[in-house]
Symmetry: C2
Subunit: 615 residues, 2 copies
């Protein structure tokens, strides 16, 4: 395509963006119009992509970080012949694949869900990393960003990560249209302001007029030939470009044109240009991934082992058995024990430094390319990446997250380091799995099982050593539980997980000595939860006492309730959880102070049973 | 103090850091030792602070962003005479004020809880903003950062915010000791790498040898005389400086010295130098804050008003009545309606652009200076700031958070924009209050009530219009609820909040027409929850059906359970919530698709009652 044709294609993308958003009655035509040339030139001249085979290992990857400009993306799909005119007109309608913000759940050409700003570039870095260090099939990652979203710190975590890893296969294109949702951005059309920042972070920078197709073409070419560093193209554009009534004007963000026909006429009317997007070179092949027999670590019953240690050892073993396993960590691998994997499989370990958003984003990007990531940090610090986890779920991304140092049981370090809301956060993620093992063999088995699940999988590990109570041959079903003590004369069931399992067992032993029989359930699968076993225990013992090293909201106790929402009678429920703000203290003092140690469980059990509060 | 005395003081801080962490058996002496000169010179020569009157409006403010270096902070407190030698030796022990990471809950001289890295500078920006735009008492904010934490994107959100607001009263001191927890940082001792980044973000930069007390002194002086931009001092230091066996060595992060006596001897032994820290100038006075009568907006019953509109209008009114109210927004004030406040009180409105972490951090900093912030963005995007909210709770900070565009009810924009986990997230925050109004008058009253609460207060607002059902004179207790329909023949209670209240009322009307009487409770106070009313409804009707525009975990349904954990019988509970991943559709289609509209509620109610599942 020559200059004139590229310009025409850009106009078509504008017109189609207007038409789609007009048909929908909502959407973002003006944010689409600013980037029309940027998209047209990419599609026609630089992107190597086989729309019929979106999973082709050699395909370039395109990420629309400014996800609200979806009309532009869908108009480009139409121009490339991937979707029809009819489908384009279903934009934002019930049942349409063309959602307000693109997601890979619906569309095979979308790499990651966007719409929460500042996430496309971080995930793009993950994809580029996968190419550079794992796939090595030569594809390039193109990310179209808005200027507003450069205010997100996650963008600068990504910028740092990309330059440190010399990702010259990554191109960030910034549509600097100067206007955010509410009004002008901080830097307006000051391209230099952005260029200084990216250059300082080690990027190659190019500043252009984003409406000049030849300049855009040259910039893309320069990016393609830049070595050893990522490139950012800062393109000066106008929001709503080409239609006088909306061009470069405030107050029109996210609004269809008032007079679309006039706008379309001003842009030269409807066109039907079809772009032949060149496919990837045939030679680009994905190398086969090795799989072998999984030899998980085995621990002796009675041995004292921290579950975080078992995590690291099991992950290293899993990495040996399967070549598609990768690990990421947020500069705490000596604490999370991801270091065991890093030592055995350095080529598949990604150090993300103290940048949890980028760690999760990189995992999402790597997973998008078919690898299976395990990303770890302290459970408390996964909260930093909550929005990325949420969006990973919107993507339908299959990633494993591991949060260590759960609960008050960590001891002296105090509340800033304690994961006390992670069960609530991760349970509330759509389609997630939440696991909380209490011993080393169980941890190892669950690390293996996580690999076979869909969606977001979360494993909660503990800092301190706990006794091994399960044999290495014991199996742990996802959605299951283990009844650790049971008799026909049980008068109460204690439901625990992780560190509180051991406290519950001690409490049950003590109560047994007083003639009070107590059932103990290890609810290692917090989501999904074992309805059957909980219901049976409730019917046999009448009352469930849940005990968790977590805040009282949204954790184990609430998960147990989930087993009793079928309209049948609900057992009496009593919950022990962390209700106060802990300070520094020994692990034992912390568990006692929070009222979740053996003594507290026994006291609560005694009260419930002896004072006939239950039965 | 002269050079020799400053050097001696620095050695004392090192020795005391070793002694405190040795007594504790844990802690971070090496991370403290690298910054000893930085702290000594600040304390003795530059900080203006009255330790006897920590709330003095003219005091400078010091934030230890690298919170794990708490031994250094506490040693400085000892040197300043604020704590005793005896108290210093209680470090990290049960009941001590000297926690592993400092918090203002325990210590009056701590501005904000740290320990989650990359948060001290963002909060420091908030405090500096409060000085610049609200207090104007001339104090300076000093933030001591680690080098590792500069990998956090939040630091760059803060950097952008500080330079944009010309915060020349802010000094970031970076202890570049080259070693993180696990090993070397990305940039090691390359001070230029950091300087380039900060300079690009608009900061004045100074590079020094952090162990040269004269250089440190000159740098602080240069920072004090720099105008119109914030200053960062990049100090080259050695971790564990001064003790050969630990100095500049890997693998010693967070570990007390193996041979403390030898280390102390190497540092010249124990000293007892007392520093006279100069107080603030007497002339610095806080100007009085105006308070007047609150005239909340009033809405007519039957009027259609979005609760987000009522939020904006009520906040503007609150701002008129009270001079201490400030508002912050993440570049979506036209959506959250914080714009109404911004228009009426521009001097107290803080535009934070698309940087939610920084928005919450700024709120925490502003609140630390006695102002009352309301910070708003889409509920979905508050997830971005989850770790900051968590740490605000550790601080005991009193801030108001407002999340708009809750639930699937937003319609076409799709899941990336829908707050569907915010109730779970915010409920799990220690000491939080969670409110979810269903009409405009209720919203207005709750906006006013929030101002009088402690801790983190969260208000969830809706995008679409809903009918006003309450009179402007109705009162809404925090921890209360409203029974909207009740009769002696109720066979079921529907518990709803926000948008589902209106669906529940429609469903109850429909069921009433079929001869099924249903009680409806508006549970606007999701936390704390109204035990009494829920218990009474349960006893009268036997079954509670909860319905919420939120994922099924951790939200309204779990909150209702919280009313039944006293060991007494639990009613049958059935929950309607969002269980699928929504796409784009109209609000009505979304509510129906999620099974939380009137029709779905009626169907569930009918099933429960007619099929005798209840009663």
């Amino acid at each position: 395509m020559n200059t004139r044709q590229l310009t025409e294609l850009a106009q078509q993308l504008r017109v189609d963006s207007i038409r789609a958003s007009t048909a929908a009655g909502s959407g973002h035509p003006t944010s689409s119009m600013s980037a029309a040339e940027l998209m047209a030139v990419l599609l026609a001249r630089h992107l190597r992509y086989d729309f019929d085979r979106p999973q082709h290992p050699g395909n370039d990857r395109f990420v629309l970080s400014k996800g609200h400009a979806s009309p532009l993306l869908y108009s480009a799909y139409k121009a490339a012949g991937a979707i029809s005119e009819t489908e384009l007109m279903t934009y934002r309608k019930h049942g349409s694949r063309l959602e307000g913000h693109p997601t890979p759940r619906r569309l095979p050409w979308v790499e990651t869900a966007t719409g929460s700003l500042g996430q496309g570039l971080p995930v793009g870095v993950g994809i580029a990393l996968a190419e550079k260090r794992l796939d090595r099939t030569g594809y390039r990652v193109w990310v179209l960003c808005g200027d507003s979203e450069l205010a997100e710190g996650s963008v600068w975590e990504a910028a740092e990560h990309a330059s440190y890893e010399h990702l010259d296969n990554l191109v960030a294109i910034v549509d600097v249209n100067r206007l955010g949702q509410r009004g002008p951005t901080r830097h307006g059309h000051d391209l230099d302001a952005y260029a200084r920042r990216f250059a300082a972070f080690g990027w190659h920078t190019i500043e252009i007029d984003g409406h000049d197709v030849d300049a855009v073409d040259r910039a893309y070419g320069e990016a393609e030939s830049t070595r050893a560093q990522p490139t950012v193209i800062l393109a000066r554009t106008l929001k709503g470009k080409g239609v006088e009534s909306v061009q470069d004007r405030e107050g029109l963000h996210g609004k269809p044109l008032k007079d679309p026909d006039e706008g379309i006429a001003e842009l030269g009317g409807v066109r039907d240009i079809r772009v032949e997007v060149p496919g990837p070179p045939a030679a680009r092949m994905l190398h086969a991934v090795r799989t072998g027999h999984l030899e998980l670590p085995r621990y002796e019953i009675g041995e004292e082992v921290a579950t975080r240690n078992a995590y690291g050892q099991a992950l290293a073993a899993l990495g040996t058995a399967r070549g598609d396993i990768v690990a990421l960590d947020g500069e705490v691998s000596d604490s999370t024990r991801a270091e065991f994997f890093a030592k055995e499989h350095p080529e598949r370990f990604f150090e993300c430094y103290i940048a949890e958003q980028q760690m999760v984003a990189a995992a999402v990007g790597i997973a998008a390319r078919g690898w299976l990531p395990y990303a770890s940090t302290f459970a408390a610090f996964l909260t930093r990446a909550h929005d990325f986890i949420r969006m990973a779920s919107v993507s339908g991304s299959g990633i494993n997250l591991v949060g260590s140092h759960a609960g008050v049981a960590i001891g002296q370090d105090g509340p800033s380091q304690m994961g006390l809301e992670d069960l609530a956060t991760l349970r509330a993620v759509h389609g997630s799995t939440v696991l909380y093992p209490c011993d080393a063999n169980q941890t190892a088995k669950l690390v293996g099982a996580m690999a076979g699940l869909d969606g977001i999988r979360y494993l909660r590990t503990s800092r301190g050593e706990t006794p091994v109570i399960y044999s290495p041959t014991e199996e742990f079903e996802i959605g299951g539980s283990k009844v650790l003590r049971a008799s026909d004369s049980d008068r109460l069931t204690v439901v625990a997980a992780g560190v509180t399992v051991h406290e519950a067992l001690k409490a049950a032993e003590a109560l047994d000595g007083e003639g009070i029989q107590v059932r103990v359930i290890d609810l290692y699968s917090v989501k999904p939860v074992d309805h059957r076993t909980l219901r049976e225990a409730a019917e046999r013992t009448g009352c469930l006492l849940t005990v968790e090293d977590h805040h009282e909201e949204g954790g184990l106790g609430d998960a147990v309730l989930g087993a009793f929402l079928d309209g049948r009678p609900v057992p009496r429920l009593v919950r022990l959880a962390v209700r106060t703000m802990p300070g520094s203290a020994t692990p034992e003092e912390q568990l006692h102070g929070a009222g979740i140690d053996a003594e507290s469980i026994a006291a609560a059990g005694r009260l419930l049973v002896e004072h006939a509060i239950v039965r």
